[in-house]
Amino acid sequence: MHTNNNKHRFGTNLIHANTGIDGHFGAVNVPIYQVSTFNQEDETNNGRYDYSRSGNPTREALENTIAQLENGYAGFAFSSGMAAISSVLSIFESGDEILVSHDTYGGTYRVLTRLFSKFGIKTTFVDTTKVEKVEEAITKDTKAIYIESPSNPFLQVTDIKAVASLAKERNVLTIVDNTFLTPYLQQPIDLGVNIVIHSATKYISGHSDVIGGLVVVSDEKLAEEVKFVQNAFGAILGPQDCFLLLRGIKTLKVRLDQQLKTALQFAKWLEEQSLVSRVYYPGLKSHPDHKLISEQANGYGAMISFQVQDEKVARHILQGVKLASIGVSLGAVESILTHPATMSHASIPKEVREEKGITDSLLRLSVGLEEFEDLKQDFNAVFQSLEEKALIK
């Protein structure tokens, strides 16, 4: 296991995390071990590595790094964020119940309701932003509370410390999807959480070039359980992609510092636009959870959702913007504009989606590293053309 290096600040730890892998030839970075198997010295004792599904040095360097950044006991790398989520869910058994943030990523919703349900794992969706609702929902079968905070796409904030301490009292695990904030801005294990999950495809990689998932656990017992599933199911991350995540981690702080700044400017600007009826960004003072997130996180992230007048306007924006790519995914150096109803949350049935407020007029912007003035001009041009076309009543 890694040794925690608390004497440095976060930005330094990003560059100098202890990977646990000895350098050869003085190379500053961990080599890409494109290998499936390892020579064994002795038939009775397996060496440190035997087969890459069980352990690969490049993957281990990444796993040790994320464990340190999240202040956890051990880290694990998976072939996608969904593989990380599915692997964590696999530690539960038939008959177990999991309470899940009602405003959650469509892929998580799908795997819970269509795959794990088949194996007898029960999911109850609950508004985790209200601790009393979580408390009411806990039953004798509840084994875990699964939180996204801020949530996707409405950026609702759950009081992680309060839920984790309630969970602990009731002998229930707390799992937090920390994709939107990253360990730079939020360290859930320090707030009492047992398992942290990342779609590392997003901010950890930061370059829209890797599909990957990461898990960090708080103690040895959970580490053994997740390790067993990782090796047995084998949804591991390949060495090239592990290296790219290690590479992405080096610039996590500088990327986010810039993205946070631009996101706040952009959210404020959006609020002033007559075509925009509502802006969801927890960094805005108008956001209902602004105070809570200011206490439990070191920043507000760079994800903004906003509501426009109707689907027609949303469609025009999606067609008109030039700088932001239209696509799913988020957290990259490129700004990405998403239509949650038909893209990131399309796997949720329409009636459930609309009940959640994910209507056709909702847009989600992942703010990238482009300059604020350019992003503003890009959107402004579309807003103006809309007004000229008199589409607005």
Binding site: A83, S90, F233, G234, A235, I236, Q240, D241, V328
Partner: protein, 381 residues
């Protein structure tokens, strides 16, 4: 097109904008949409990535199936297929199968209410005896790992069809170059592509091919939902490996036959399990359903002490898990690949403390035989 040609054509001609002979490595997670509601065919790389798609279409063409799917490991491929079943289903599985498959069936799927009977599928009456009203599939390795039992595929598939069972074949040991179970009527083929398909001990990966699109869609749903996909770099390395599959398999086969014959004649070897030997009980069946015998040999030595001496003294052959690469590897199944199987079951099926498994590489056969001879000599001294 002959399979040698198909192999070389894998991933070729997929980039008209540049004419690149090989498929580019699309190190991309997401794809820009031309407009709302429009797609280039690629939206998010978990769902589909052009490099992975090239590999998936190549393996489907090679195995003569409709849908191919690439996974993060052979076990992730096995999991995707097992996820077709649900609480209450029963499966019949080859009894000496890879330890990792045994582990997920026994420790994970059993908890989810899926029951399994392990039989020697080389004896079809054992399969018949194991049938239950809720049996949903027959899962076969042939030849098996490590005992090299050969199942008559056309007969087993006919029996399965009679009882409305899916037939799932782990084709890792043979590769599509030597054996194509879908052509024989099987429903699903699984590969640990870390082995012969990759061929260079440099990738961990799994491939699944479904004969019909309805089964293929279910596997794709799981692939996307659970997300145990193969990354673009590893997908590309498999496409690269596939090009030399025919040449490699021929050489593996040629070397393996020489070594199997040499081992058979050695005093310290009790028994050699290689289906290319005429004395092997599955030899005639192999000749009917496959076009070669592969490069995997298991052999039992006369005393457990010989095992450690051999493993310590081989120099050209590497002591390591895995198989199917250009480098020869020797494995001690009882302690490595099959360590998850309880001892009494291991001994009953023959995976004893005297059994070694050799994945014969493409080095010169004389060097491999000399290496083995010197290791045996070390014991005799």
């Amino acid at each position: 097109m002959k399979i040698e040609t198909l192999l070389v054509r894998s991933g070729v001609g997929r980039d008209p904008s540049t004419g690149s002979i090989t498929t580019p490595i699309y190190q991309a997670s997401t794809f820009a949409h031309p407009a709302l509601g429009q797609s280039t065919g690629f939206d998010y790389a978990r769902t589909a990535n052009p490099t992975r798609t090239a590999l998936e279409e190549a393996i489907a063409a090679l195995e003569k199936g409709e849908v191919g799917a690439a996974f993060a490991s052979g076990m992730a491929g096995v999991m995707a297929v097992l996820a077709l079943f649900k609480n209450g289903d029963h499966l019949i599985v080859s009894e000496d199968l890879y330890g990792g498959t045994y582990r997920v069936l026994n420790e994970i799927f059993s908890e989810q209410g899926i029951t399994v009977s392990y039989v020697n599928t080389a004896h079809l009456e054992q399969v018949k005896d194991a049938l239950r009203p809720n049996t949903k599939a027959l899962f076969i390795e042939t030849p098996t790992n490590p005992m090299m039992h050969v199942t008559d595929l056309p007969e087993a598939i006919a029996l399965a069809k009679q009882h409305d069972l899916l037939t799932i074949i782990d084709n890792t040991f043979m590769s599509p170059y030597y054996q194509r179970p879908l052509e024989l009527g099987a429903d699903i083929v699984i590969h640990s592509a870390s082995k012969y398909i990759g061929g260079h001990n440099d990738v961990v990966a799994g491939l699944v091919v479904a004969r019909c699109s309805s089964l293929g869609e279910k596997i794709r749903f799981y692939q996307n939902a659970a997300g145990a996909i193969l990354g673009p770099q590893d997908s590309w390395l498999l496409l690269r490996g596939v090009k030399t599959l025919a040449l490699r398999m021929e050489k593996h086969n040629e070397n393996a036959l020489k070594i199997a014959n040499w081992l058979t004649a050695h005093d310290l070897v009790e028994k050699v399990y290689y289906p290319g030997l005429e004395t092997h009980p599955g030899y005639e069946i192999m000749k009917k359903q496959a076009t070669g015998f592969g490069g995997m040999i298991s052999f039992a030595v006369s005393h457990p002490d010989i095992v450690s001496t051999l493993l310590e003294n081989v120099k050209v052959i590497t002591f390591a898990e895995s198989l199917g690469g250009v480098e020869s590897l020797m494995t001690f199944p009882a302690r490595q690949t099959h360590a998850d199987i309880p001892e009494e079951i291991r001994n009953r099926v023959g995976v004893t403390n005297c059994l070694l498994r050799l994945s014969v590489g493409i080095e010169h056969a004389d060097d491999l035989i000399k290496d083995l001879k010197e290791a045996f000599d070390a014991y005799q001294q």
